[in-house]
Symmetry: C2
Subunit: 291 residues, 2 copies
């Protein structure tokens, strides 16, 4: 089962980005622009993404070339007035995203991250002068010092920790009631994936891990993370949470996790993260793997 937001349908045609003539030809051919309301998707009656035809010549917006899809060039327009989101997706947005087909979800996620990045990078971090879109939207160039800036992707480690036959899951105050999920945090400069997993689990839950392994990954467009899903063991299950990060963390037995995944956890049991989150897949992977 492919994880939400990954495996997008576009051919990104990266060679085209550096070729102004090829880009111009794509803009002039059969081309379309993803309709967005700010950063949010617009859906038609069948819950598909809505596209507008790109009219040649008179479009002065900054356009990001997303790639080719069924012979058509797909673009997204940078919204100049957009302040740029840094918050997690709202419950309303999540509800809308749950209606999208896998292909549309992956396409929207990538486009959203790019448009958001452009809207938050209209100036040069090196010298403060304005930047302008370059290379089909895969770069911004400073009009002052000439510095080149590239779309940002922030690696995040997200991990399930095992002890005995139980799993360590935690909850943040912003989670819906009874939801417990995998611990997670940004990879910092100077860390490997394995270093970051060990540091985050110790910081958030006071648990020392060993034998970190990679399970799977997912792009997460709020605003533009690469979720790196891992599994680890611990020999000491004593939990000491950091209240600035978590409101609770507990060990859950295999039976409790399996019941929660099956929707049979009752009114008191934990609720697992939604299917669009990689945390859901990590938990499901652990149950499927067995002891």
């Amino acid at each position: 089962m492919t994880i939400a937001y990954s495996g997008g349908p576009l051919d990104r045609c990266d060679a085209v980005r550096s070729d102004p003539q090829a880009l111009a030809a794509l803009r002039g051919g059969p081309a379309k622009v993803l309709r967005l309301a700010g950063l949010e998707p617009v859906l038609d009656a069948e819950n598909r993404l809505v596209w507008d035809r790109l009219e040649a010549g008179d479009d002065t917006r900054e356009l990001v070339f997303l790639g080719l899809l069924g012979g058509e060039a797909c673009f997204a327009a940078v919204a100049p007035g957009l302040a740029g989101s840094v918050a997690p997706a709202s419950p309303d947005l999540r509800q809308m995203l749950a209606l999208l087909r896998h292909d549309d979800l992956a396409l929207y996620g990538g486009a959203r991250s790019l448009v958001d990045w452009h809207s938050r990078h209209r100036f040069c971090a090196r010298c403060g002068q304005p930047t302008r879109l370059a290379k089909g939207g895969w770069q911004r160039d400073c009009t002052g010092c000439g510095a080149e800036h590239f779309p940002r992707v922030d690696p995040v480690v997200i991990m399930i920790v095992e002890h005995g036959d139980s799993l360590l899951l935690g909850r943040q105050p912003r989670f819906p009631a009874r939801v417990f999920s995998a611990l997670a945090g940004f990879v910092e400069p100077g860390e490997s994936v394995e270093d970051a997993v060990a540091r985050e689990v110790f910081e958030e839950a006071g648990v020392r891990v060993r034998d970190v392994t990679y399970v799977s990954s997912q792009p997460w467009p709020f605003p533009s993370s690469l979720m790196i899903g891992c599994h680890a063991y611990t020999d000491d299950p004593a939990i000491r949470i950091d209240p600035a990060e978590l409101e609770d963390a507990r060990w859950f037995s295999r039976a409790d996790v399996a019941a929660a995944l099956a929707g049979e956890g009752g009114d008191e049991g934990p609720v697992m993260p939604p299917v669009q989150a990689i945390a859901h897949h990590l938990v499901r992977w652990w149950i499927a793997r067995g002891m």
Copy 2:
């Protein structure tokens, strides 16, 4: 064997970063500042990093709190005049780094990435106004719009591709003579690790891969990448290189790769990447794993 730049010796004490009183106390206690020449390390007669005592009070430099080491607070100073590097490490620098012990190398790598990031982010990408260091150097805040900016880590996939009992390796024009290495490229918004591996191998070498698996990872401080090392298979070994990316790519037999790793490749055979690069470890992993 721990990969170069990973597994650093510092306790990053992330809770301290948000606590101005604790930070001030650390600056006033036994504290030291990493000596740098621009972004380059300074070594003593025993090839150890050189530290200067941090004098309390009269130091007006922007200081990044790296963490605790043996009870001492370790800092790095942001160099205001530094334009910021975006180039790969020079051969001279690589030679110097090869002299460093593992602990010093990991510590230097993380510090370098942070100092470099600060030097290239003195202005707000959202509004163009100056930023100032916050949270012990793990954030910059805009003095105009208040936007918060965080140190950047760029995820890169780097992968060896297998067919029959041979390995696909490529060379860039900047490589030393006869060096062949794993293909690599930045993860883009909207991609999983596995998506990025498939796209990069096809873009650079025209080869379609399947069954991508993660092998290991490494922080790479030029300027601040997270190298995500993978292995994949292909069913079709026909190579079509992108000359903008590679000057050559070939299939190498297990015997040729093993000989090159052992330094027994002769004057004509390929040369494997140096031990500090994750590509070296990927190739070594493949040889150790056997067929």
